[in-house]
Symmetry: D2
Subunit: 303 residues, 4 copies
């Protein structure tokens, strides 16, 4: 099965006391599936996975699998600083029915290319499940160059899907596809969808990101893949102002959660510390951009 199209990275909603809010998570899943997404991704960076305990991780994954109920495939993030933990997470993901796992290079001050290849190879040898290689340097601290991504794809047949988040992404996608010629590689854009159109034009298979209106991404990708580039471009250009706003470095998660709260999915928009929470200025700017794009309707949970 080739992973492609729009995969929405799920936020992890929290109650006011900071505990995981499984009920809101279920609503988000339904909202995203109703939006037409091709798949869901749990326990990603934007899911604040790094701020969950292992018990919470397991419970979140259970809720996701149960609520999704095979309507779409689920990718589970299993990145860990240690190989052994990464394998353990990957085993749990596979057992829970995930269609694939998503893994970044492990954080390590003196990491090198050989160690990165070795990491993916070792996970693949231990667990038989497709791997999405995540290339997001600000979080992993390591840039996976096109030749190295191609080398991973060659050495580890299970690791031929890439979530590419190292700008300029369109150019890098073109370079990867050239370096990996002859291999069936599938590349997802990320980064809030802010370069989705250009990524598709460069050969991307879709987007895997947490943008709070995945139906827009779906419309763009479907139009593009059915050959209607003009329509894809039009929808994209008209909406990228919002995508850009949502995907602010250091604030993106807080903005997304607030939008999902306004959409009636989340009870509470809180982010776990030390993640930044929404300030009044950003909230006012959000009002404005939502109004301009005609999406200002507000439907609080329980109303």
């Amino acid at each position: 099965m080739k992973l492609e199209g729009v995969f929405s990275v799920l936020p992890t909603p929290f109650l006011e006391d900071g505990a995981v809010d499984h009920e809101s998570l279920r609503r988000v899943i339904d909202l995203f599936i109703a939006g037409g997404v091709n798949g869901l991704t749990a326990l990603g960076v934007t899911s604040e996975a790094a701020r969950l305990t292992e018990r919470e991780r397991a419970m979140v994954l259970e809720t996701v699998m149960h609520q999704t109920a095979h309507r779409v495939p689920v990718v589970a993030g299993t990145t860990a600083d240690g190989l052994r933990t990464c394998i353990e997470y990957t085993r749990i993901a596979r057992a829970s029915g995930a269609a694939a796992v998503m893994i970044s290079p492990p954080r390590l001050p003196k990491l090198n290319s050989d160690a990165v290849v070795g990491h993916f190879a070792a996970v693949a040898e231990a667990v038989d499940i497709p791997i999405v290689v995540q290339d997001y340097p600000p979080v992993s601290g390591f840039t996976i160059e096109p030749l190295l991504l191609a080398r991973i794809a060659r050495v580890v047949p299970n690791a031929r899907t890439i979530k590419l988040e190292d700008p300029p992404t369109p150019l890098k996608i073109a370079k990867i596809l050239q370096a990996a010629q002859g291999l069936e590689v599938s590349i997802f854009g990320g980064l809030g969808g802010v370069f989705l159109l250009e990524e598709l034009m460069a050969g991307a298979s879709g987007a895997m990101t947490g943008f709070a209106y995945p139906e827009i991404l779906v419309e763009i990708v479907q139009a593009y893949r059915s050959g209607n580039l003009d329509h894809a471009a039009d929808v994209f250009y008209r909406n990228v102002a919002l995508m850009r706003f949502e995907f602010q470095e250091g604030l993106g998660m807080a903005i997304r959660k607030e939008v999902l709260r306004r959409r009636g999915a989340l009870r509470h928009a809180g982010v776990r510390a030390p993640g930044a929470s929404l300030d009044a200025g950003t909230s006012a700017a959000l009002d404005r951009i939502l109004a301009w794009t005609g999406r200002a309707v507000y439907k609080a949970v329980g109303e």
Copy 2:
């Protein structure tokens, strides 16, 4: 004199053999002034100043001052790794008639806050000219936090203008203005104008960036400052797709130069190595976004 409004950072055009193309530089200056900018900035990061020899720096500055001919004020970049060189550049800038200089923290592996304050204070003591403090961490390797920017503004009265390029910029602007309460601080957004509206809403005095259509920035800033927020927002939202595209990390300069070539200002769009040059895919994506925003007119130099 308070610096505010739109200051366009000038590219440094090159001939096909790589030499500085002063004739094209003069055309860009005229194009930007015709676009209504409030000032020009020479020898910035986007001017590829780091790839010019000292002789070339001096000649570029001379061309800029001569062609601008006091129509608008000019800010000259004088960042250097050493304090002494920075002071020397600043002296040259002042002697040439620059209205202000723009300075980043010097690159140094173990730089600290005290050294940064000391650097700005020493330049200010040596040369009497307003200083624009540039906060652009990916290039300088040092993040100037709001409290430190306020400390610089307090200790160095000549250094109360800030070019802020550390996202999320709107939130950081709000924090700086709060930390610097009581001081007359002026903050410019940068980063290609991609968050200009939100920066203005947070209290920015304008934008200082190299976006190839500064007239759009001028329209936004003027509308905003005359109280017409709705118009400012409308112009901004409709054009930010283009700004975002132009401001691609690692490719921005190449795209900008190509746009300025198409606008008839530059004879040649080349960037000095190791700067990346424009690839076919990015060029095709540029065609599309320019067409969508109704700016596809092409007027090559000499035609």
Copy 3:
């Protein structure tokens, strides 16, 4: 209770199949206590804590507390990317009888000073236990400047012990003590002890590091604190060649474990992937430096 003297950071030994080797851990604890250390530190960076599951963390801590049996105080590392997890780890550490916890700033791409202070303050408010603030930029990605360390010490009375690992450490110690004047701050050197003498001369209270011969550190610190600087210096200078060798970036843990294996404490010197393991060249160089310092005796476990 003021933490001071030599605190040995414990490695986490593994069996050949990669599981935690509690028996070897107990031997290391006894070896270090026999060496005269003033305390032990569990679950530090060098303990490969980032590569342990939560269950393993808990079991390691239990073994450490049980085997130490109050002979010396134990500091437990409780660093986590999320505040909530950090608090949970800290609660567990306190409940298990740890004398203090050791905490680094949480890893976050856009971390800032206020968030760092807030993190320590929130942990301190949630759990009443002394906190060792760890300043080790290569791992946390954030440098805590002297003024910020002093601010933390002022705002969070429980966080007045510092493990300083940001070179040049002697100079930074002097700056911290000056910035924190009036507060009872205690600073430990780290970094394998490679600057221990100079750190003591600058005002450090001791060393907290994983050097495999803590008895050498103990001799140095005791001589220094009893006024015998000449002896302290002599012991230090004669042994720092070995400390330097052991503390190689990216290899330190592998070398230490091999030394502890040769000392009869560890059954197996393995490091968890992606940590680097010992190569033949480094092993040969280790033989030589151990021979030169008269420490070549080999006593394998079970022999």
Copy 4:
């Protein structure tokens, strides 16, 4: 000509008013040549080259070439952010009689392997002179992995000498030699000589560093290369305490210059801002380590 043995990186001495002190530079050159070095390196990182103007660079190089007078070969640093400037510097170095140039990857936020190879290839095509490839990630911001160093050596025959300063250096040297098998590659250690013995054991051809007592490095390298490993090791282990002290991150240059002042070579130990200058604590610690190694003799210039 294969570059090997001990190449001393020259400091750039300054007068009290900050101007370059050519007279002291000449004394340092004579001191180092009297110490038996195999070559000299001018305009390196430790020469504060980044804080010199172009005019000063040229004058320093002239003084070095003139004073050295072909007694030993001279390597000239020609690193620059732009390829064109790097080529210009390299041309000047060749014209002045330098035996080789030393070049780091250019600083650029999104630098990649292909651009690095292209940079060295373009310099080599423009100027026919041996190139020492400097791998010092904290300054260049880019780590050159063993395979990439081997690729450069293969593609650019003039670039087969490496100054390796990315720890753990002994292990990396072994990896490079393996990756470059069949090519005549010569690797210098750097980093103050702190791992010189282990680097030689791993296959290094010598050391290129600014340690203020190069005669010690010469003794070690000569002993090693004549097969007397025991003597090399003994000299190294007895002196590495001093090397380690001198090579403190962020302070190294200030310490070195002070030592060279005490040795009667420099009139003034000042470092150009923002480089850190010597504090009282570090100075006291220097007294102690010099006394212990029997090198406390003080001979001020002019006395």
